[in-house]
Amino acid sequence: MLQAGEWAYTEKLKEHFMSPKNIMQGENTDEFDGVGMEGNLQCGDQMMVVIKVDRDTEVITDCQWKTYGCASAIASTSILSEMVKGKTLDQAFHISPKEVAQELGGLPDNKIHCSVLGDKALRAAINNYYVRNGMDDKVKQEQAKTICQCMSITDHDIEEAVLEGARTYFELQEHTKLGTVCGQCKDEAEVLLEKFKHIHFGA
């Protein structure tokens, strides 16, 4: 007989949920060099990441966070805060949700979006650092490209839909209403669907 205690999550995730690392104490963000926040309470997830940066080397010396969300959201932000310490801003900016999930030993498909918010908040914190220090030219925008003109659906929307569980073109349409008017974007959307499936799920 199976024993109780086998969570839907990995042991690594459980560890970070039970003893989260680097939670920001208090609420004073002034002592930090960059602050980023993503998500909202109505959607069920919100994360704030704050960083301290060594100005000469642009290395992140401290990373703390607050998270409103489920176990995987808490664990994702916790492990992310460990991963970025000692990395340069540029290296940290390119940490992908997949790497966070891998570090946790994997996430259930429907929980991947929780880890996406953490690295988005981190990127917002890094951009915030650049802005505060007059380095606006370094701010990296995540440019969205419109794929479906009729319904105004971007590549980001497609990525979001994949993270929320869309695996086929039909499911993508159900999630986004993409391609439901003229249908000309079908080929491009299918390529992106496969791309994001590969990036996030290795499929």
Partner: protein, 398 residues
């Protein structure tokens, strides 16, 4: 300490049910067989039928044993898309179904499916306590309506509906009345004649019986055709060899409810009151969901803004306490509880809700343990939450 506060999800077997099942484990005969083995099984099935019928004031031949509450609900709803005059005499022209926004998914999803198959489905709103809008029902009822299905007690918030009044309104317009009483039977008195319903759904595992068995009350003379076909079992109303042990367990469970229900419900109500008061005193910024008085005595649903339900559930699990949540994250979907949203609760409060459901094995020691652990758990989660930081949604409330 191990604390099981999730009795609306399922319940442990009553020791008497367990005992009777263990003793009956050797009974394998097919109730349809004419020989001694068959007759033994048949006798037990019919004995259980009498117990269930007696418990809700029905006649024995008005009880159909089924595989679950979900099956019973699917059966009733599916009666009303059948265009055959032989199946449902007189309901052919009545192609509309009315139900509510707070039903169990087995009613809601079946209703959606029926809509695809041509039925018109209308959904009743509920007020902030989860009570059905009777004025809206009056406006919806007409000679196109074939069936109205309203759950008697809600599984998430415990709110009770006035089924007798609704039945009367429904019958005045010539429609039939179904109630999903899975959470009500065995917790509050249920009498089919007093309620005036035509169909009523019962499940065994919510009342300390085994899983995989339920019963459907079908009033004598009401049109009916089977959902599962191809056998003469249950007088042709539900094909498939009877789950004899399950049915036996349901019969015993019902018998035990008859003996224990009244005293136990009083005990649960007083424990719930203490739990509610304790939560109010020890945790700030909370909301109770559901009706303050007209509610199942063991069910308490509470929201903790700024804390997410799945996190609450799992931190409590680590302390040995079992509850459930209306959070989207725990359900695998992206939307929080449809019941809470229907009562007008905003998404954040729904994400941060937990349901505590007490049962016959719950004790005051467990309530005290919960009142010790829960405030610490909520504080821990809120301390790491973005909701209370400077500029956060609830920055001012602490």
């Amino acid at each position: 300490m191990k604390v099981y506060f999730d009795n609306n999800a399922t319940t442990p077997l009553h020791p008497e049910v367990k005992k009777e099942l263990i003793e009956a484990m050797g009974m394998f005969g097919n109730p349809s067989s004419m020989h001694a083995w068959g007759r033994e099984a048949r006798a037990n099935v019919e004995d259980a039928r009498s117990r269930v019928a007696g418990f809700i004031g029905a006649h024995d031949d008005e009880i159909v044993f089924v595989g679950s509450g979900s099956e019973a609900n699917n059966t009733v709803l599916s009666l009303f898309v059948c265009a055959s005059n032989q199946c449902i005499p007189g309901t052919k022209m009545r192609s509309s179904i009315i139900t509510t926004k707070i039903e169990h998914p087995c009613v809601l999803e079946t209703s959606e499916c029926l809509a695809h198959r041509g039925a018109r489905v209308k959904y009743l709103n509920v007020d902030r306590y989860g009570k059905v809008d009777l004025d809206q029902l009056a406006g919806m009822l007409g000679d196109d309506v074939g069936l109205v299905s309203v759950m008697m007690a809600n599984n998430e918030i415990g709110t009770l509906q006035d089924i007798a009044t609704i039945s009367k309104m429904v019958h005045e317009c010539g429609a039939l009345m179904h109630t999903d009483a899975v959470q009500a039977v065995g917790k509050i008195p249920v009498d089919v004649a007093a309620l005036g319903v035509d169909f009523l759904t019962i499940s065994a595992h919510k009342i300390y019986g085994p899983k995989g068995v339920g019963a459907l009350y079908v009033k004598k003379g009401i049109p009916y055709c089977p959902f599962i076909r191809g056998g003469h079992q249950e007088r042709g109303r539900r094909a498939g060899t009877e789950n004899t042990l399950g049915i036996l367990g349901l019969g015993k469970a019902v018998e035990m409810r008859q003996l224990e229900m009244e005293a136990e419900e009083k005990r649960l109500a007083s424990m719930k009151a203490i739990l509610k008061k304790g939560i109010e005193e020890r945790i700030d910024d909370i909301y109770f969901n559901g009706h303050p008085t007209d509610s199942l005595s063991g069910t308490l649903n509470v929201s903790f803004p700024g804390a997410e339900g799945e996190a609450i559930l799992l931190y409590l699990d680590l302390e040995g306490i079992a509850v459930s949540t209306g959070s989207a994250c725990a359900s695998g979907s992206l939307d929080p509880s449809h019941v809470l949203l229907a009562t007008g609760v905003d998404a954040e409060r729904a994400h941060g809700s937990i349901r505590i459901s007490l049962g016959r094995e719950s004790t005051m020691q467990e309530v005290e343990y919960m009142l010790d652990i829960l405030p610490k758990t909520i504080k821990r989660i809120r301390d790491m939450s973005t909701a209370y930081i400077k500029g956060g949604t609830h920055a001012a409330s602490r």
